[in-house]
Structures are given as C-alpha cells and as structure tokens.
C-alpha cells in the first residue's frame, strides 16, 4: 500500500519533527495542569474570596434599644426607626421645581436645599431623622443623588415632666444621662450581621453562613409611677412660679419597698428637643446639688437621744433665753420658747433644744448615725455626678460644730439622701436601699438604725409638727394623718450666710401605716415667703393628698375640713 502519490508526502519527514510537536503539546498540557493545580489548590482561598466579594454582601442588622416603661407599663422612652436624607451634591442636579418639591416634603426652606446642594462637598445631610413615611414620599420623587440612611431616634412622650429621671441618649444611641446611662447595659442592644448572596437585582437569595442575630436591648421597667410623676412635677412647677424661686426638687418614695415613685427637678428641659440646653436645666438637682438641710435634720438628732435613753418624749428642756453660748460662738432661737418638752422641741423646731440634746452625746455617736443614714457618701444609683454631701470626720469636730450639725447646719446633703433617711421614721426604724427599677419582691428588711419604739415616738412628734401649733399646718392632708418636718436654711455664699434661703419639707403619710415619703426642696423663694412651712409644705400636702387617693390608700383620719386656712404656722428656726 502506498502512502500517497503526492511528491510532498513522498519524502519521509524527519523523526525529530514529530517528537518536537509531541513535546510542545505535552509541555502545553503540563502547563495547563500546573496552572489548574495552582489555581484550584494553592491559590484557592484568595480566589474564592474574590469571587464571593462579587456577589456576597455582609449586612449590618441594627438592634433596637429597649424601651423605658413606668411601673404600669406606660411608655416613657421608645426608639423608633427614622431616616436621614443625605445627598452627593455633585450628583444632585435638581431643577428648581424639584428642589422646591423636596424642600416642601422635608419641611425646610427651598433656598436652604439649593445652598446645601451647591456646597463643595461629597456628602451633605439635607435633613436628619425624618419620619419613615415622609422618606418614602421623598424616595418616590426619584431624584438623582439623594440617598437615605436608617437611624433610630429616641422619643420621650412625657417630655420635660420626667426629663431628669430618664436622661437621654447621645450619638450612637448610647445613654448619656439619668436612667438611660444608669441602665445602659440593659437597654443597649448588640447589632448583628449576616452574610448573604444577592442577585443582580440586589435581592437577597441566600444566607451564606449562620446569621449573627442582633440582640435587641431589654425593656426597663422603672419604679416610677407616671401619674405621681406628673402630679409631683406640676405642683412643684406651680410652687416655683408662685414663689419666684430659682430652682426646686421633689421626690416621692415608697416607704415599704424603697422604690422611687417620682422625682422631678426644676428648671428642666424637653428631652425631645435638646437644641439649646444650659447646665442649669440639665442638672439633676435631687442627686447632684447639696444644700444645708436645716431643721429637717433635727429629728435624727432627737431620735438618737431618745434611742440612747438620754431623754424621753416628755423630758423638759430649758431653751430660755433663746441664746446659747458654746466656746466663742453663740447659737440662738429666733423666737425664745422657754421650757419645752422633747416633743415640743420638734414641734416648734427649737435650735437650742436640739443642740442641748446633741451636746450630751459623744461626737462619734452622732457621726455614726449620720453615716448609717447615708449622709456624706453618694447613694451610687448610677446617676452621673451624684454628690455625696459633706460630713466631716468626727475626730475634727468642735462642740460648736456638733451643736450646729444637730440642727442641720455645717453639713450638706442631697435631697435624695434626705428623703431616703426619713425611711427610719416612716418604717419602723430601719433603712432599705432605694430602687429605681420596679421590684416585685416583698417589702425588704432593712438595716436597723433605731428601735421600733423610737420610730413610733418620732412619728407622733412629727405629726405634731404639722398640726396647729407646729411649724407646718399647711402640710395637712384631708382624710389622712401626715407627719413631717420643715426646714429653712440660710444659704452660704462665699463663706457667709446670704439673705437667700432654701425651703424644704420632708414627710410621710398615712401615719398609722406610712406608705409614701415625700421630700420637697425649693431654692431661693423670692416672693416674700421663704419658710419651709409656707413654701414647701403646701407642695407636700397637695402631692401627698393626690398621690394617696391615686394609689387608693384608705384614709386613716376622719374627713373634717382642715383648720389650716387660718392657722398661722409657728415661727420656726432657721
């Protein structure tokens, strides 16, 4: 058989050429295999990553911050999603008509929109935090270069009424003040993320790996009662307006559980609109401002004397002639009283009577009492800037200081400390920690400070103080037996006592089984009246009355019209 008749093929090709071709083909395929091995084996990770980056996306899943609720579940603070509108000015070439339409929807001036879009920047916010439905309308305009960003906004429906208690959140939704800060760990959520595959239309088609689910913050249920808070706030506001006072505070405590039912300060602010805030508005005075408690402190000294068995409620004490010299200093009663019983010392609020009882005690006993009552150190409830007040170590006391401290001068306290310390009278001589959160546990057993007997005796003395002949008949509440003590302290300014006062009243009711403790402090009343019995006691009375009725506490007194309309408060000491 002949291979071919072609002369070209007649010649036998040299063998090397066949081998060369074979070799080249072999080398080529080897190179391919090698390359494939390199890509599939050695370089695999990198390439998979690159590939996934083309269609995989990591999506942030924001967590919502927990709500703050009052003790009945009413919303006090809630986060709702809002949108912020931003633009890339270079892309956002709007016709004047479009700009006008946009401005109307956003509720801003059309010129402002034009001005912002003319800015030489890559990014500009047109309006932050608008309602989602408005954002949908804006998106419906399909304007170029206008984008949206999801954000959360915190709303406080109660507004300024509970501003200091709740505080507010700052950037990144983190707590900055008040409860928002104190309970931030509980309220704040942890945002999650998920990796997904998106198709070319941007729709999610598959989850790639397990989702890191966002953890929403937990709701916080406070001890606060929104109704009592509103009552306390409005009454305090009224009193501050009537007496042209500079500031004030009020606290309502549950005497049985130590829960803080209401706490209001003035001046206040609207937490929903914090564009212009001053430090004075922002301060949570009940926690951060200390003042000399004045006469509201006397019951502690007297109770200690009773508890130690140094006096009985009817032990006579000579307070005439209304002056008492200790070392080089002299203390005085503004209105000399003569011989008073221990109970009358409280009722008439005699400085000298109290000081005489104090001077019979060792310094250390008095200091230990004040320390046990929580004075001189912050309560550590988690509020920012909580003050501890001033309680000097007893080793450096002098007798005159012991005397003045016994009636609340030369010592400084915060309103919340004072309210808490009155637990020893409202309860049967013990002290429980305060609670901002609602506690469903049975009434706590506290740290005993006085005996039950002393607490009972003090209750009846403090009840005398609000009856005709006492310093605060205006603190009475129809249908309920109340007890309490007034305080009027001269303010120190630059080391000297100025002609400015702090009027206060701390009390509790019903006396037969105390439920509520209310402390009122009014700073610099300047409309003529400044005694605690005239300025602070009426606030106590109206808040206590409404609060007891709101809580459905059964009356423990006959309902007789109060004889306080013409009752003149006994002149008290300062």
């Amino acid at each position: 058989m002949r291979a071919s008749r072609s002369p070209l093929l007649a010649d036998r090709l040299p063998v090397w050429r066949a081998r060369l071709v074979l070799g080249v083909l072999l080398a080529g395929s080897l190179a391919l295999v090698g390359r494939a091995f390199y890509l599939q084996g050695i370089h695999k990770e990198f390439l998979i990553g690159k590939g996934e980056a083309r269609y995989e996306r990591v999506i942030e899943m924001p967590a919502t911050r927990g709500r703050i609720l009052d003790r009945h579940g009413d919303v006090l603070a809630i986060s709702t999603p809002v949108k912020s509108v931003w633009a890339i000015p270079e892309d956002a070439r709007l016709t004047p008509a479009q700009a006008r339409k946009l401005a109307t929807l956003l509720g801003i001036d059309a010129r402002e929109v034009t001005r912002k879009l003319a800015a030489e920047r890559d990014f500009v916010y047109l309006k932050r935090q608008i309602a989602p439905d408005v954002a949908t309308q804006v998106a419906g305009l399909k304007l170029p270069g206008i984008h949206f960003q999801n954000e959360y906004r915190r709303y406080y429906p109660a507004g300024e009424v509970a501003a200091h208690m709740l505080g507010f959140t700052g950037a990144e939704d983190a707590g900055q003040e008040g409860i928002e800060l104190a309970l931030d760990g509980q309220l704040a959520g942890k945002s999650g993320s998920r990796r997904v595959i998106k198709d070319r239309r941007g729709q999610i088609v598959e989850d790639v790996e397990s989702i890191r689910a966002p953890q929403d913050g937990k709701d916080a249920m406070l001890a606060l009662d929104a109704k009592l808070q509103y009552l306390a706030y409005t009454q305090l506001k009224q009193a501050i307006a009537d007496h042209k006072a500079k500031a004030g505070g009020i606290i309502v405590l549950d005497a049985r559980s130590g829960e803080v039912l209401a706490l209001a300060n003035l001046p206040t602010y609207n937490p929903n609109n914090r564009s212009k805030l001053s430090g004075a508005q922002l301060r949570n005075r009940a926690f951060t401002d200390t003042f000399e408690p004045g006469s509201t402190f006397k019951p502690f000294t007297v109770a200690l004397a009773l508890d130690k068995g140094q006096v009985r409620f009817d032990t006579p004490i000579q307070t005439a002639p209304g002056r008492l010299t200790i070392g080089s200093a002299t203390i005085s009663d503004a209105h000399p009283h003569g011989v008073l019983s221990v109970a009358q010392v409280i009722q008439k609020s005699s400085n000298i009577g109290t000081a005489k009882m104090a001077l019979n005690m060792p310094f250390e006993d008095m200091w230990t009492l004040f320390d046990q009552l929580g004075f001189g150190q912050p309560l550590k409830l988690g509020f920012p800037g909580e003050a501890g007040g001033r309680l000097r170590p007893w080793k450096r006391w002098r007798p005159i200081e012991q005397a003045t401290m016994s009636y609340g001068h030369g010592i400084s306290v915060t309103l919340i400390q004072l309210a808490r310390a009155y637990q020893v009278f409202a309860r049967d001589g013990d002290l429980v920690p305060l609670s901002l959160a609602r506690s469903d546990a049975p009434p706590a057993v506290g740290v005993r400070v006085f005996s039950e007997q002393t607490a009972r005796e003090m209750r009846s003395m403090l009840e005398m103080a609000v009856q005709p002949g006492g310093t605060a008949p205006r603190a009475q509440v129809a249908g309920y037996r109340v007890a309490g003590k007034t305080g009027t302290a001269n303010k120190l300014e630059g080391g000297v006592y100025a002609n400015k006062y702090v009027a206060s009243f701390v009390g509790f009711a019903p006396v037969s089984d105390p439920r509520l403790i209310i402390a009122v402090m009014i700073d610099e009343p300047s409309a003529g009246k400044y005694y605690g019995g005239e300025v602070a006691a009426p606030v106590f009375s109206s808040v206590m009355g409404s609060a007891l009725r709101a809580l459905g506490v059964p009356p423990d007194d006959t309902l007789k019209p109060l004889q306080m309309a013409n009752a003149v408060p006994a002149k008290e000491e300062m």
């Binding site: 009413d74 919303v75 809630i78 009424v161 088609v205 509103y230 309902l559």
Partner: protein
C-alpha cells in the same frame, strides 16, 4: 454492565435536576422570607409609632386639661368624700 451504567446515568441526571430545582425553590423561599421580614420591620415601626401616639393622647397633662375644661371635673372637696368602712 451497559444497562447498569445507563441506569446510573439517568439517576445522576435526575438528581442533578432535583438539585437545581430545590435550589431554585430555596431561593424563592429566601426571597419570600426576606419580604416577610421586611413586613415585620414595617409593622414594628408602625407599632412604635402607635405607642408614641397613644402616649401622646393619654398624656396626663392633656387628660387633666380635658377633664377640667371640657368636662368640668374637679377633685372632690372634703365634704364630698364619704369614706366607707369595709
């Protein structure tokens, strides 16, 4: 032998088609799930706004004002209270 191979080939083809279709179904379900989640978020937004609205309508200041001004209510005076013993 050839028959077994043919059966296996058909089996492989069928299972490959099944994979494709179940993948497709899975993606459709994911899309649906996404849509439902979107709806859930929208409902949450609405719920939040309704809560806000409720607390605005039920604000104590508003209730008090309406009770006083519109309905002419006032707190009972002392002589209007009768206390009942249980």
């Amino acid at each position: 032998m050839a028959r077994l191979n043919l059966i296996l080939l058909i089996a492989v083809l069928l299972s490959a088609l099944a994979v494709v279709s179940s993948n497709h179904r899975a993606r459709k379900l994911v899309t649906e799930f996404e849509r439902e989640q979107e709806r859930m978020r929208a409902l949450e937004v609405e719920w939040g706004q309704l809560q806000l609205e409720q607390s605005t309508w039920a604000a104590h200041a508003r209730v008090e004002q309406i009770a006083r001004d519109k309905l002419g209510m006032h707190p009972p005076r002392t002589n209007q209270i009768i206390s009942l013993q249980p």
